[in-house]
C-alpha cells in the first residue's frame, strides 16, 4: 500500500472530486447552498430566535456545582489520560467519517446539517465541561480534555467543529461561573437529548475591536438590565436560543449575560465570512433588550469576564491545531504523489522544507496550547500562556494555511481540494474573539 493510500489524503481527494460534481447534486446540496448565499447577501436583519425555546429552572441545589482542580503530580508529562485518549480516538473517527465528508457542502450552505449536530450531541460533547452531579461527564476541570476534543473535531472541519462546540461552550461557561438558578435553568437542556443551539457572543463589528471594552451596554433598570449594541461573528446565530453575551455594565466593567433569543428587540442577520462558514455566523442587533438581573453571570465579576476571553482564545488555538494538522496530513501524500520534472516534487528541498516547517510550527502551536490548558486545569494563572499560544496559532496557523495551498499549486486554489477552505478557516484564528470557549 502506498503512503498516499494509507493516509486519508487519497480518500479525501477522491471525495473532493465527487463533491465537486455529482455528490453535491445527488444530495441536493447545491441549491440550498446557493440559496443560503443569496439570502445572506440580500436579506437584512430579522427577528432573532426563530427556533427560540423557553427554559425553566429544574430542581435547584443549595450551592452551584463546581469542578475541582485537576490533580498535579509535579511531573512533566505529555501522555493524555485513558479517558482523554478514548475521547480523542472517538472524536477523530467521527471527524473523519462525518465532518470531513460534509465539510464542502456545509461551507457552501453556510450552515451545519441539523442531523450532524444531533449526532455530535450523541457524542456527549456538551457534557465534557459539566460536573457529574449536574448531568455532565466530568469530576475535575477539563480544559485539556476540551482542547483535545476540539482539536480532533477541527481535523475534520473547523466550521463544523465550531458549530458543534458552540453549545458545549455555553455549558462549560455555566459550569464554571453559573449560580444555582442559572445552572438549574439551562444545564439540564444542554446536557439533555435535544440540545438547544447556543453560543458565546463577544465580538463586535468594528476595526481594532478590544473584547475587554465592549461597546454593547447593559443599563440597570429596576429589576432588569437593558442591553443595547451589536455583536458579530456569533456562531449558529439564526438557530441559537441561548447566548452568553458580553456587555459593558454601566458604571462597572465588562460582564457576561445569559440571553434567550426570544427576547424583544433582538435582530439577527446571517453574515457568512471568509471561512468557518459551516458555523452559520451572524450579527446581532440589540435595542432595549430587557433581561432580568438574574441573567448576569458571576455577578458581573470582571475577573470572570477576562477568563472567558482567554478561554475563548484557547478554544481557537485548539481549532487551529486540528486544522493545521489536517493541512500537514493532506500535503504529505500530495507532494509524494505529484510528479514534476520526472520525480515526486517532495524530492525537492524547496517543497520538502516547507513540509518540515509546517510540522515544526504545528508542534509548537500544539505544545503551547496544551500548556495553557493544563495550567487552567491545575488552577495556575494562564493569561500569559494563552497569549503566547494565540500568537503562535494566529500567525503560524495562517501561514500553514497559506503553505498548504502553495504546495498544491493551482490545485490548491480550487475547491476540489480542501486546502483552499483550510486557508480561509485558519485566517479566522487571529480574528475571532469569543464564539466558543474551552
Amino acid at each position: 500500500m502506498s503512503v498516499a493510500e494509507r493516509s486519508m489524503g487519497l480518500g479525501l481527494r477522491a471525495l473532493g472530486r465527487l463533491a465537486g460534481s455529482e455528490l453535491v447534486d445527488r444530495v441536493g446540496a447545491r441549491k440550498p447552498a446557493e440559496r443560503a448565499l443569496y439570502r445572506a447577501t440580500r436579506e437584512g436583519f430579522r427577528a432573532a430566535g426563530a427556533s427560540a425555546r423557553t427554559f425553566k429552572a429544574a430542581q435547584q441545589r443549595k450551592e452551584p456545582a463546581r469542578l475541582k482542580p485537576a490533580a498535579d503530580r509535579g511531573l512533566f508529562d505529555l501522555t493524555p489520560s485513558d479517558e482523554q485518549q478514548m475521547i480523542q480516538e472517538s472524536f477523530r473517527a467521527f471527524a473523519a467519517e462525518r465532518l470531513r465528508p460534509a465539510a464542502l457542502a456545509a461551507d457552501g450552505a453556510c450552515a451545519a446539517p441539523a442531523e450532524l449536530l444531533e449526532q455530535v450531541g450523541e457524542l456527549g460533547l456538551t457534557m465534557l465541561g459539566v460536573p457529574e452531579e449536574l448531568g455532565g461527564a466530568v469530576s475535575e476541570r477539563s480544559t485539556l480534555t476540551a482542547v483535545l476534543a476540539t482539536e480532533a473535531l477541527a481535523h475534520g472541519d473547523m466550521g463544523l467543529a465550531l458549530a458543534a462546540l458552540a453549545p458545549a461552550s455555553v455549558a462549560s461557561a455555566l459550569s464554571l461561573w453559573g449560580d444555582v438558578e442559572q445552572q438549574a435553568t439551562y444545564l439540564p437542556a444542554l446536557v439533555g437529548e435535544d440540545i438547544p443551539a447556543a453560543a458565546l457572543a463577544l465580538h463586535e463589528p468594528r476595526a481594532l475591536f478590544d473584547p475587554r471594552k465592549p461597546a454593547t451596554t447593559a443599563r440597570r433598570d429596576g429589576a432588569d438590565y437593558v442591553l443595547d449594541g451589536a455583536k458579530s461573528l456569533v456562531p449558529l446565530a439564526e438557530r441559537a436560543s441561548l447566548l452568553i453575551l458580553g456587555a459593558q455594565i454601566e458604571g462597572r466593567g465588562p460582564g457576561l449575560f445569559l440571553l434567550e433569543t426570544g427576547s424583544a428587540g433582538m435582530l439577527v442577520k446571517p453574515t457568512p465570512g471568509m471561512g468557518v462558514r459551516a458555523a452559520g455566523s451572524g450579527e446581532l442587533r440589540l435595542k432595549d433588550v430587557r433581561v432580568p438581573a438574574g441573567a448576569l453571570l458571576a455577578d458581573g465579576d470582571p475577573v470572570v469576564y477576562a477568563e472567558c476571553v482567554r478561554r475563548a482564545r484557547l478554544g481557537w488555538c485548539a481549532l487551529a491545531v486540528g486544522t493545521a494538522q489536517a493541512v500537514l496530513d493532506y500535503v504529505i501524500p500530495y507532494v509524494n504523489d505529484r510528479v514534476a520534472f520526472g520525480e515526486p516534487i517532495s524530492h525537492r528541498q524547496a517543497v520538502a522544507f516547507a513540509v518540515s516547517d509546517i510540522a515544526i510550527e504545528l508542534e509548537g502551536m500544539r505544545l503551547a496550547t496544551l500548556r495553557a490548558a493544563s495550567r487552567a486545569d491545575s488552577g495556575r494563572t494562564f493569561a500569559a500562556e494563552v497569549a503566547l499560544a494565540r500568537s503562535l496559532c494566529a500567525q503560524k496557523g495562517a501561514r500553514i494555511g497559506s503553505e498548504g495551498v502553495q504546495l498544491l499549486g493551482g490545485h490548491g486554489y480550487v475547491t476540489e481540494h480542501p486546502v483552499e477552505r483550510w486557508y480561509r478557516d485558519l485566517q479566522a484564528v487571529g480574528v475571532y474573539e469569543g464564539a466558543l470557549l474551552v
Partner: protein, 404 residues
C-alpha cells in the same frame, strides 16, 4: 496526565544553575569575549561543583553525561537526566553560551561517550574532558563524506588514524578527542566509527585555534592526525562494518545531544528577551497579554511574537528530552527542537538588538554579544537546513538518496 510545567523535583536544580549563571558566568562574560583563546580559569572550581551535582543522584544529572539512556524499570512516566540536563543547560546559557561550552568535562565528546560507550570505557574515561571531532575541511554537514581513515594494524592491535579535523570545540583544552574516521571509504556511512584519542597522543597535532564571530570564550581547534595510533579498546561501539545498521551507532548520539544544543539556544533566547523587556520597560513599553496584538505598540507586539516563538522552542526542547528519558524514539522531535530553537535564538537576538537601538548594538551591555553567540546555535550539531532535511525525510518517508 498532561502537564508541561518544570518538574517539581528539578526546581532546586534550576535555581542552582541560575545562580551559577548569574554569579559566575555573567560577571566574566565580556572579559572572555574580548580575551579570545584565554582559558577561563574561573571555571575550574565550577567544574568540580558540577561533578558533584552529577554524582548526587541518577535523576539530577546536569552535565553532558546526562544523556545516557537507561531503561526505566517501572512503567510510569520518568523525568530523568535528559530533562534535568536540558533544564540546567538552559539556565547556564542564559548566563553565557561560550562559557558553558568551555566547562571542563562537559564536552559533546562526553555526551558521545555517555551515549554509546560500553561499561569498561565509561569507567576508564570517567572524570575526563572529551571534545568531539567530526568536521573536516571538505566535509561538514555531509559527515558521511569524511576522509579521515582508520586502519587496523594487526601486529600491534592499534588503529592508525590519518586525516584533518576542524572546528573541534574545546579541542585544545580537553583530555580526550572523540574522532570520527572511516574504516573503508568505499563502504560509506556504515564504515564510520568513533575513536577516543588522548589529547597528548603525538599523532594528534594542533594546527591552529580559530578566531570567531561569537562564543569566543570557547576554543575551537583544528587538528592534523598523522599516523595517530589509537588502541582497539578506544573504539566506541561495534568494530564491525554493518551495512544494514548504517550510521546508527554514531548518529544515535545526535538524538540525545540535539535537545541539549536546542536547550543552549533556549537559554540564550531568554537572556535576550529578559534584557529587552527590561529596556523596553524603561522606555515605557510593556506587553499586555490580555490585549489584542493589534492594539499594542509595534515594539510590544514584536516582543510578544518573540516570546511566543521562545515558548514554542522551549516546549519542543522539553518534549524531545522527555521522550529520551522515557525511551521513546525522538529523532524527529529532537530535530524539530533544534531547528526551531536554533532559528528562534538568531531571530530573537537580532530582533532585540534592533529594538534596543544603540543599547542593543553597543558593547556596554551584552545584547550585541548574544546576537553574535546565537548564530553558532543554528550551525553546529546540524545546521538549520540539515534539521529540515532530517524532519522532511521522516515525514515524507524518503531516503537520503531520494531527498538530497
Amino acid at each position: 496526565m498532561i502537564n508541561l510545567e518544570i518538574p517539581k523535583k528539578f526546581v532546586p536544580l534550576v535555581a542552582q544553575a541560575n545562580q551559577v549563571a548569574k554569579e559566575v558566568f555573567r560577571p566574566i562574560s565580556r572579559k572572555y569575549d574580548e580575551a579570545e583563546h584565554t582559558y577561563p580559569k574561573e571555571l575550574d572550581m565550577l567544574a568540580a561543583l558540577i561533578d558533584g551535582m552529577n554524582d548526587g543522584s541518577e535523576t539530577d544529572g546536569a552535565g553532558a553525561a546526562g544523556v545516557r539512556r537507561t531503561r526505566g524499570s517501572d512503567d510510569g512516566v520518568r523525568n530523568g537526566s535528559n530533562m534535568s540536563t536540558a533544564l540546567s543547560i538552559m539556565e547556564l546559557c542564559w548566563g553565557d553560551v561560550g562559557l558553558l561550552l568551555s566547562m571542563p568535562r562537559q564536552g559533546l565528546g562526553n555526551s558521545a561517550i555517555a551515549s554509546v560507550a560500553n561499561d569498561e570505557q565509561l569507567a576508564r574515561f570517567d572524570g575526563m574532558w572529551a571534545a568531539m571531532a567530526i568536521t573536516e575541511p571538505e566535509a561538514g554537514s555531509d559527515s558521511a563524506a569524511i576522509r579521515t581513515t582508520a586502519v587496523l594494524d594487526e601486529s600491534s592491535g592499534d588503529y592508525i588514524l590519518n586525516g584533518e579535523k576542524i572546528f573541534v570545540t574545546s579541542g585544545d583544552r580537553a583530555d580526550l578527542i572523540v574522532v570520527w574516521a572511516t574504516l573503508d571509504r568505499a563502504v560509506g556511512r556504515a564504515a564510520i566509527k568513533s575513536f577516543v584519542v588522548e589529547r597528548d597522543n603525538p599523532g594528534l597535532q594542533l594546527e591552529r585555534l580559530e578566531h570567531k564571530l561569537g562564543i569566543r570564550a570557547s576554543d575551537t581547534a583544528d587538528f592534523r592526525l598523522v599516523n595517530c595510533r589509537v588502541p582497539k579498546k578506544n573504539l566506541l561501539g561495534s568494530p564491525t562494518v554493518d551495512v544494514k545498521g548504517g550510521f546508527g551507532g554514531v548518529m544515535q548520539t545526535f538524538d540525545n545531544t540535539r535537545p541539549l544544543v536546542a536547550a543552549m539556544a533556549v537559554g540564550l533566547t531568554r537572556a535576550c528577551l529578559e534584557e529587552t523587556r527590561r529596556l523596553l520597560g524603561e522606555a515605557g513599553v510593556e506587553v499586555d497579554h490580555d490585549a489584542p496584538a493589534a492594539l499594542q505598540s509595534a515594539a510590544a507586539a514584536e516582543l510578544l511574537g518573540m516570546e511566543a516563538d521562545y515558548e514554542a522552542a522551549r516546549l519542543l526542547t522539553l518534549q524531545a528530552a522527555w521522550m529520551a528519558d522515557n525511551d521513546k524514539p525522538n529523532s524527529l522531535q529532537a530535530s524539530m527542537a533544534k531547528a526551531k530553537a536554533g532559528r528562534t535564538c538568531v531571530e530573537v537576538a537580532i530582533g532585540c538588538v534592533r529594538l534596543c537601538g544603540s543599547l542593543g548594538y553597543g558593547r556596554e551591555l551584552l545584547l550585541e554579544k548574544w546576537a553574535r553567540d546565537a548564530k553558532i546555535l543554528d550551525l553546529f550539531e546540524g545546521t538549520q537546513q540539515i534539521q529540515l532535511l532530517i524532519i522532511a525525510r521522516q515525514l515524507l518517508g524518503k531516503s537520503s538518496a531520494e531527498l538530497r
